[in-house]
Amino acid sequence: MLYIPCPHCGLRNENEFHYGAEAGVGYPDPNTLSDSEWAKYLHIRANPKGWLAERWVHFAGCGRWFNLWRNTVTHEIGPVYLPFTKQPKAPAPETHRDGKEGSIQ
């Protein structure tokens, strides 16, 4: 279970949160998009191996949405930031727990 730093409440267990997938995907102007562009907005989100900026909501706490960087391989959590604030840079590629660069083999 992840230990997630809510920017309002502090560190809490993952089961107090809901996941909101990739951060920074704004609601587009629907009428300027082709069908395939609209379908991409609806259904396609980044899911990289490594650092991903993603949305979370502290559902069972303050109820607020926020964003954070999470490493999808090591589950390390990086900078946390509020919606509509500048996105911090992605952390440097991680050193894995084994001390090796990269991902779990």
Partner: protein, 902 residues
């Protein structure tokens, strides 16, 4: 300490309180504890703890727990157990013991109270950290306990340090991301009859630690040779411990077979305890070190390049001799013995580290996989990190070369009865990965999850090429270890959240009245809702008929308090609702209500309900009972993450406002007796309008909303005043034959009018158009989901659309969920209509089905492919071997012109 008594297989045994049952059984002369699961071979204790693959027992006393290794059960007065052949049985009775959970946040967690763990804990304390030390044994010391040694006083004293919490009998079962550890503490079994009644039997610990130190130690492992499973063959460390520490005196002679210096240490202990050690057979060509010198000095014969190839037994299957092979000359000799002590090397307990993805590394010198890991957050210590102590010569990773016949009795997984023969067959079938071999042979899949067999499998896989190591263990890698490290009873995971505490129960302020009125309840989410109100002797069918007639012809009342209610305020509330709902709300006049449908961005209907405009910047939204939390979260998501410029505040008021629905042609007359300060006439108070009023000084809001098609009033009142109002309504309602109705009647009434329930009449793939509700989709404004209606697949022909199904009077009711097929499709051999491939051609399914008193026939709502273009078509509904028929019709069954609602 005083002796205690316990029963095993109806025999009385004596033991010291707290000692392992395995020790007491061995001391009592019981070598063969059970028969193996599949091959029926006699088996005895081989190990010292949770690694034990053989000696499973079924508790007969206490919790009657199944499949517990005799090596981990502490004997206590009153304990009764019996032997178990592999497959346990759950007790018939409900579990009565208590279980609980606790959370702990700590600077440092140390797993394992052996010397390495204790030393690490002491370092952490010196650094000023608060330490939680957990260990699965009854007392600290790890291997020192097995040697019968006391803790060094410095480590013993540390246990009373004010910043240290030491929990015994506590096993870490899983290590998860960010230093989250789950552990189970066994708190009462060891006390037997003396256990306090109220004490939780097992406590589940949820631990978050800044730093985790894993000092989980190691298990000794066996060797693979023919007939290596007989009672009398034990791990050398276990044999020496049972003999030297627990006073087991049943062995006269012993043969020790080893690949490391541990065999020498254990041979010495056996020797010193009076067992005649006939010889140490060491597969290595040489060995040195203090233990080797001591064994020599004690006069124990030592044979290098020699090992055990096979064993023999007496008529009961108990070991009585071994076959020794000289590895160079291949000569064999037989030796009679009643104990064969096996030292196959140490297997560090890497499980916890691997739970979070750390890969163990192979050390040839240790003949073991190690986790030597040091970061600020997590480090390993002791044997796990490769600190095997002493002056050991390197071990070898070894097994003798066995022929095909010998391989059949060369057991790798004793619990699964999986042999070297099975493994070779797997390799012969082309399997190379250890994960495939595991699944093919079932090695490592029993209660012990391969604690002894995993490494043997790796060793055997190294050898399959004519005994020459074709691969090194590093190439093969370990099995994947997953939590839990030891079995956890489900009851422990449930803790106190069982029965009525398993989920919160939500009740309305009128709940007690419903109970007293004899309501039968149904669960709607966490809510208890009256399903129907049977009079004495009435069936459900009778009650629902009576309730329906009252609502359609007289006056009936329902508790609708569970409706989700969200108070929405702010200067931009109207604009916001326009974006959320498919229809307009910013133009809704104050004091009026409007039904709305909301979609997700993909155009799929998500929830519905009536929203009332209470003021210029104030709306009250209602949602489906089950959808309230979901809808509030949806509104918040858009407000917080997309439209922060909108000034809108959403508050859940579900449990602030109780709603009483008064329904039927006589509802206006009855309400008129209750409400004197407003005009209830249709002209003054039109349909879908809302009015403030007072009843006996209690402020109420009354809305002309109908979920039945009848004249109806929804009375909204403060939660705390609802019961008073409800009672008053019943007093005044007596002359009107006021009838209470439940959710079943509500469903019949709404379905007769074709009102959908989102989630029942939809399956998450319907647009408003599929529900024949294009009329509610605004063409003038933007809203969430609108763009998706242009997507080709949402416009395509053949989509499932909501229609009605009407049956002939007297026909059998269609079960909800039933498949609908085209009429008279050819029948398959089950009697169901089938296509030419023998598959049933279904064209839709039934979502709601009821008997209609008004129509005098059963009817249904259904989702049917292209259903809106198939009015009047007769379809088949195969139910088992029966085939029902129904006619597709409009989903509004009664009063299409809405004449009754005024």
């Amino acid at each position: 300490m005083s002796e205690i008594h316990f029963y095993f297989d109806d025999q009385l045994y004596k033991g010291q309180p707290g000692e392992p049952m395995a020790a007491a059984l061995l001391r009592g002369g019981l070598l063969s504890i059970t028969n193996s699961t599949y091959h029926g071979r006699p088996r005895g204790v081989i190990g010292l703890g949770v690694e034990e693959p053989n000696a499973l027992v079924q508790l007969v006393s206490g919790t009657k727990e199944s499949m517990r290794p005799a090596t981990v059960i502490e004997v206590a007065e009153g304990l009764t157990a019996r032997s178990l052949t592999g497959i346990g049985a759950l007790p018939e009775d409900a579990e009565e013991a208590r279980y609980d959970k606790t959370n702990r946040y700590v600077d440092t967690l140390v797993v394992g109270a052996g010397v390495a763990g204790l030393t690490a804990a002491a370092e952490e304390l010196r650094a000023g950290r608060e330490v939680l030390l957990i260990d699965d044994q009854p007392t600290p010391g790890g291997h020192l306990r097995h040697l019968g040694l006391e803790l060094p006083s410095a480590l013993g004293d540390m246990l009373s340090h004010k910043n240290l919490t030491y929990i015994s009998r506590c096993t870490a079962t899983g290590l998860y991301d960010q230093n989250y550890i789950v552990a189970i503490e066994r708190r009462s079994d060891h006390l037997g009859n003396a256990a306090p009644v109220n004490r939780a039997r097992i406590r589940v610990w949820h631990i978050r630690a800044e730093r985790v130190i894993l000092a989980s130690g190691a298990f000794q492992r066996p060797l693979i040779f023919a007939n290596n499973d007989r009672p009398g063959i034990m791990l050398s460390h276990a044999a020496a411990t049972y003999v030297a520490v627990h006073g087991v005196k049943i062995f006269k002679q012993a043969v020790v077979v080893t690949i490391d210096n541990q065999g020498y240490r254990d041979a010495l202990r056996l020797h010193n305890a009076g067992v005649n050690v006939l010889g140490i057979y060491d597969a290595r060509s040489t060995a040195s070190g203090a233990s080797v010198d001591a064994a020599k000095a004690a006069g124990i014969p030592i044979h290098f390049r020699a090992t055990v190839l096979d064993t023999s037994s007496n008529a009961e299957g108990i070991l009585n001799g071994v076959t020794i092979q000289d590895l160079d000359t291949k000569e064999i000799v037989q030796t009679a013995t009643d104990l064969l002590a096996v030292s196959g090397g140490w297997t560090p307990i890497v499980d916890l580290a691997t739970h979070i993805g750390i890969k163990p590394t192979w050390s040839g010198q240790h003949a073991a996989f190690l986790v030597n890991h040091t970061t600020d957050k997590l480090r390993t210590a002791g044997m796990l990190a490769g600190d095997f102590g002493g002056d050991d010569d390197p071990a070898v990773f070894f097994g003798p070369v066995l022929d095909a016949e010998q391989a059949r009795t060369a057991y790798i997984d004793l619990q699964r009865d999986s042999t070297l023969h099975d493994l070779r067959r797997g390799v012969g079938a082309g399997l190379h990965s250890i994960e495939h071999i595991k699944r093919y042979t079932t090695i490592g899949t029993a209660h012990d999850q391969g604690k002894t067999s995993g490494m043997l499998t790796i060793g055997a896989l190294c050898q399959v090429n004519n005994g020459e190591p074709a691969r090194s263990p590093a190439d093969i890698g370990t099995l994947t270890f997953r939590p839990p490290y030891v079995p956890i009873p489900f009851a422990a995971l449930a803790g106190r959240e069982r029965g009525e505490l398993s989920d919160p129960i939500r009740i309305t302020p009128l709940h007690q009245w419903h109970v007293e009125a004899g309501a039968v309840f149904e669960d709607v989410g966490q809510w208890k809702r009256p399903w129907y109100f049977p009079k004495p002797g009435e069936s459900m069918e009778d009650a629902v008929k009576r309730e329906c007639i009252a609502a359609r012809e007289g006056v009936a009342v329902m508790d609708a308090s569970t409706l989700g209610k969200i108070d929405i305020r702010g200067a931009d509330a109207g604009v916001f609702l326009d974006r959320i709902y498919t229809n307009m709300f910013s133009t809704l006049p104050e004091g009026q209500c409007r039904y709305g449908l909301m979609c997700k961005a993909d155009g799929i209907v998500f929830d519905d309900g009536v929203t009332t405009r209470l003021g210029k910047n104030h709306y009250l939204m209602t949602t489906t009972t089950g959808g309230a939390a979901r809808v509030l979260a949806w509104l918040e998501e858009w407000l917080q993450t997309e439209w922060p410029e909108l000034e809108v505040y959403c508050t859940s008021v579900t449990e602030h406002i109780s709603t009483i629905a008064l329904v039927g042609p006589k509802s206006r007359a009855l309400l008129g007796e209750l409400v004197k300060d407003i005009d209830l006439s249709a002209a003054a108070f039109p349909f879908m309008h809302s009015r403030e009023a007072t009843i006996d000084g209690i402020p109420v809001r009354i809305a002309r909303i109908s979920f039945s098609g009848e004249l109806a009033f929804e009375i909204n009142v403060n939660w705390g005043h609802a019961r008073y109002l409800w009672e008053k309504l019943w007093k005044l309602g007596r002359p009107y034959d006021l009838t209470a109705y439940g959710t079943e009647t509500m469903h019949v009434l709404r379905a007769e009018k074709g009102y959908v329930i989102i989630g029942q009449d939809t399956d998450g793939t319907q647009t408003p158009y599929d529900l024949n509700m294009g009329w509610i989709v605004s063409k003038k404004k933007e809203f969430i989901g609108k763009r998706s209606f242009q997507l080709p697949y949402l416009k395509a022909a053949g989509r499932q659309q909501l229609v009605g199904l009407i049956q002939q009077p007297g026909e059998e009711l269609i079960p909800e969920g039933a498949y609908i097929t085209v009429l008279n499709a050819t029948q398959d051999d089950q009697g169901a209509p089938a296509d030419r491939h023998g598959k049933t051609q279904h064209t839709g399914f039934v979502t709601s089905a009821y008997y209609s008193q008004t129509l005098g026939a059963p009817f249904a709502l259904a989702l049917v492919a292209d259903g809106l273009n198939r009015m009047g078509e007769v379809v088949s509904i195969p139910i088992g071997k029966k085939v029902l028929q129904a006619t597709i019709c409009d989903s509004v069954f009664i009063d299409k012109e809405n004449t009754k609602r005024d």
